[in-house]
Symmetry: C2
Subunit: 375 residues, 2 copies
């Protein structure tokens, strides 16, 4: 088995075109993960996800530790087999979800105790336990257990939170079981304060980590501040390791972050929006529930190769949502996942050809045009 | 364009092995339709439905007249294009659903007035209007508009209801627009009374119809009475035309009905059961929500070639249902549709080989064994 590797073979400005090698194969960067929180990309079969070009899936420690449990997944042969995803898998550490979903949580230096949002049962999650769970799940890329600093936070709050996360990162490094092809990523924190982001980066750079998450963004600070924070943070991280902007984002967030040197992304937006009838297209977002689509025989996006766009009209998609048919969320999810993968493919080719600025300008102009005129 | 045709090329006892030719291609009989009530097989893409071997889809006049409306489907190019189903389509006439779903309905000799179960809007459905709607939908096989006689019904009630349906059938024949490859089926009624079923058959045989639905069964009378009624009804219908037992049924209902000379079936059972976690297998039904599957690495049915059985464990399917993930209903629906198609394929081959009795005995023995032992 080859070791974990990150090869950068082209750059354009700060953007990098690379390939990550893991124990379960490779993925191209910049890349967008398939969000498989509970060991399934919601409303898609694994085959359908693969057909969009997605190479990397992300599952969630918090959700899977509660149900079906990490021990059970391990006994069943690990996540790859469980969810029919032989390719690379990232697992989030559970830190973010334990804060946003669980009940009666108490944070201490040791870790977090909480009650499950499903049945109220008591759990403890520590850096060591998170490493163990991600190991049991057989995750290729384990994320350090951290506290996602809430927004807004004072400088003092952000510093205390970040420093605890950095102490936890050291414990994650100690607890992580090294295996060829398996990686541990630290997570940069520090809210929107450049000095704290720098301090966090220095601490992570001093640890034997394989890549870096950038956490605590896309939590309400707005795109301008997020980009400003990336401008400070990304150059402070070791350049030879992959950078993963966690939980981001909208298509224009991704384009801007790639131009600032981010390599990896995940976000629930394509799948969650797909379930509620919002489609991402080359010409901005489309709410397929809108009555303007009632009689429209045209595809959602004539440039898209997904099943929703090549086989069906907007009128049909509208009908499915109006009639609350499951196929509506299924088709729109497939479309959105395809859109995001196509966007990443476009970004990758643009970096290879050193025309990323042109690509971004065309992208922005297309988005600004808005949806095709109603019939 | 070739005309509508039914070719019988093998028989075994009363069972027939045939092929129906329509304006949109052929389907093999005995055959089970894909239930696409609202212009979608719930929880499956059209490609996934086709992959199971299903050749014929059934849509519903009542549902589609309310939403998105037949006129809209016609303007969009008809049902085949709308729902990405280039193959043959049957449409139910709306008679059954108007009785079971609509509000404030009033039945008269002219037809039925009712209020939509969706928004309370007032509608009228008559034999003539039902023919028109099914024409607008571009259905290959139009079903006559009838009253599905409630069960139980006195002889008098059943006679009156059946005779009105037969008068309506004459009006359907008059209103149906003949086109090459398009068929009109009459519907035999008469509740569980042999004399009424015979009277209905004689009236239908006298009309220029392309096939026969057998209606008013699987409405609570039980399998024994249903089979007894088929024993009376099927031989009374013109043998050279296809016979379609409407809304049936469980796997053993289908095997018994094929042995009694039925050629076509539709039922919501495989799709509806799939959404609630009930799987049909060679060894009977399995409730995947049962805790016995929590740690079971084995497939639902090792003999099945569907995506649920070839890619996933019972433990994974159980997890999806427990976590209320959409992929659970999607995979179990795909499995159940595959199971029904495989059952029909087995029945067709058995008739060709004149070993239908053996097939039915093995089928019954396998079903009686029940599910594989828990681990």
């Amino acid at each position: 088995m080859t070791g974990f590797a990150f090869d950068i073979f082209a750059t354009d400005g700060k953007a990098r075109r690379g390939r990550v090698t893991t124990a379960h194969g490779t993925f191209e960067t910049p890349g967008f993960m398939a969000t498989a929180t509970g060991a399934t990309v919601k409303a898609m079969t694994a085959d359908a996800v693969r057909a969009t070009g997605a190479e990397l899936a992300i599952c969630n420690t918090y959700h899977l530790m509660l149900r079906p449990t990490a021990e059970r997944v391990a006994a069943l042969g690990g996540l790859h087999k469980f969810m029919d995803w032989p390719g690379p898998i990232v697992t989030d550490s559970g830190g973010f979800q334990v804060m946003s979903l669980s009940k009666l949580r108490k944070i201490s230096e040791k870790g977090v105790t909480f009650r499950s949002h499903i049945d109220g049962a008591a759990y403890e999650l520590t850096p060591e336990r998170s490493m163990k769970i991600q190991n049991l799940l057989d995750s290729d890329i384990t994320m350090a257990f951290d506290e996602c600093t809430p927004h807004p936070a004072t400088h003092d709050e952000a510093a205390q939170s970040m420093r605890m996360s950095m102490r936890w990162a050291e414990r994650c490094v100690a607890a992580f079981e090294r295996r060829p092809g398996y990686a541990l990523f630290g997570i940069n924190q520090g809210s929107t304060y450049p000095d704290l982001r720098h301090e966090s980066a220095e601490k992570l750079n001093a640890l034997p980590l394989d890549g870096y998450g950038i956490g605590g963004l896309a939590v309400g600070e707005g795109q301008e501040i997020m980009f400003a924070t990336l401008n400070e943070t990304v150059p402070a991280l070791k350049p030879e390791k992959p950078r993963y902007l966690m939980g981001v984002g909208k298509p224009d967030d991704i384009v801007g972050a790639v131009m600032r040197g981010v390599d990896m992304f995940d976000c629930v937006m394509p799948t969650r929006s797909g379930r509620t009838g919002q489609a991402f297209t080359r010409r901005g977002t489309v709410n397929i529930r809108n009555a303007r689509h009632l009689d429209d025989p045209r595809p959602l996006d004539e440039t898209c190769g997904c099943v929703a766009c090549t086989r069906h009209s907007r009128a049909y998609l509208h009908h499915l949502f109006r009639a609350e048919e499951m196929l509506g969320p299924m088709l729109l999810t497939a479309h959105n996942v395809q859109y995001y993968q196509d966007l990443m493919g476009g970004l990758r080719r643009a970096i290879e050809d050193k025309r990323l600025e042109d690509f971004a300008a065309t992208f922005a102009a297309d988005q600004a045009r808005g949806d095709i005129d109603a019939l």
